[in-house]
Symmetry: C2
Subunit: 190 residues, 2 copies
């Protein structure tokens, strides 16, 4: 079978998994529902992913990769720290709003699934650049000397929260994206 077709089928399974995981949570979704949603037989899923846990890990990595690509696009390498931070912030929020299922699922998995170390390492890899910038800026004195991993986690959590609020609230009067960045900047950064 052509390599293209194989990729298509893998992709179809991953996408189906994301959709049903978002709707019911991964603990609560049988593999049979994933294969059904993907339009393949039950057995086919296991031709592509050895176990359900493997599939979950792959879903996680797939989403992280897509996200990283989007976030680094158009990064203002020569801008100020604030510009850089705002770029990441805005991209993250926008990505979350544009891909609510992926956003939900990735959060869900990282909260309540024990990813093995190799998967974790692969997942953080695209973000090392961002972390490097943060460390440099602290050395320059441009950022407060708070622990970088703590800051990163705060940014992540705050962004997740902000996306949830924007999605939940149809009251478009409140600009959570802007407020969120203000809070992050005033509190954590400077």
């Amino acid at each position: 079978m052509a390599a293209q077709k194989i990729q298509d089928k893998q992709k179809a399974i991953l996408e189906a998994a994301i959709a049903v995981f978002a709707a019911r949570g991964f603990w609560n979704t049988p593999t049979s529902l994933i294969s059904k949603t993907a339009g393949v037989a039950d057995g086919t899923l296991f031709n592509y992913f050895a176990t359900k846990d493997d599939l979950i890990s792959e879903v996680y990595l797939e989403i992280k990769r897509e996200m990283a690509a989007q976030m680094l696009e158009g990064f203002p390498s020569h801008g100020s720290v604030k510009d850089k931070m705002r770029h990441i912030w805005n991209r993250y929020i926008e990505w979350g709003l544009l891909h609510p299922e992926q956003f939900k699922v990735i959060h869900q998995i990282s909260e309540s699934f024990t990813l093995n170390e190799s998967v974790k390492a692969q997942a953080t890899e695209p973000f090392v650049e961002i972390e490097r910038i943060a460390r440099e800026s602290i050395e320059n004195g441009e950022l407060r000397a708070y622990p970088v991993d703590y800051l990163a986690a705060i940014m992540d959590n705050l962004a997740v929260l902000t996306v949830q609020f924007i999605a939940k609230n149809d009251d478009k009067q409140i600009d959570y994206k802007a407020i969120g960045f203000e809070i992050l900047w005033n509190g954590a950064i400077r």
Copy 2:
């Protein structure tokens, strides 16, 4: 049977549930393990809780109640806004560190279990007082006019994160509790 004994047994089941939920996640723990841990027969669990879902909801409410009692104790009703906020912040963090299982479980449940509306309402009830203070302070101009529910969620998330960092890091040099409050105060509050 004496009313006391009945309460004891219910309590034993709830406590066993918290312990095993913390260790394996609630989706991943059979009711039989809960009853075994509690030292009762499989059937007994269902004399006290109609379904596993009911048990999960009760676990959630039980923890929330305990937490609320602790947090309001010694509340500086006549202090400044900052004092009030810091009191809540410190109590929350301390409670989390003192009750890591409960803390983990309550977070886990609120993230990935669909609580019904009545349960949600019961859970937030003890915290209305805190919300009232926040609203008043905004009217006074003591706090920034950010949406109160957004601020509350940020405080909650930041506290959870902070507890996780303190618990994970044995490096006692870093005072996450203080840093966290600084970030909250500078960013979200004033």
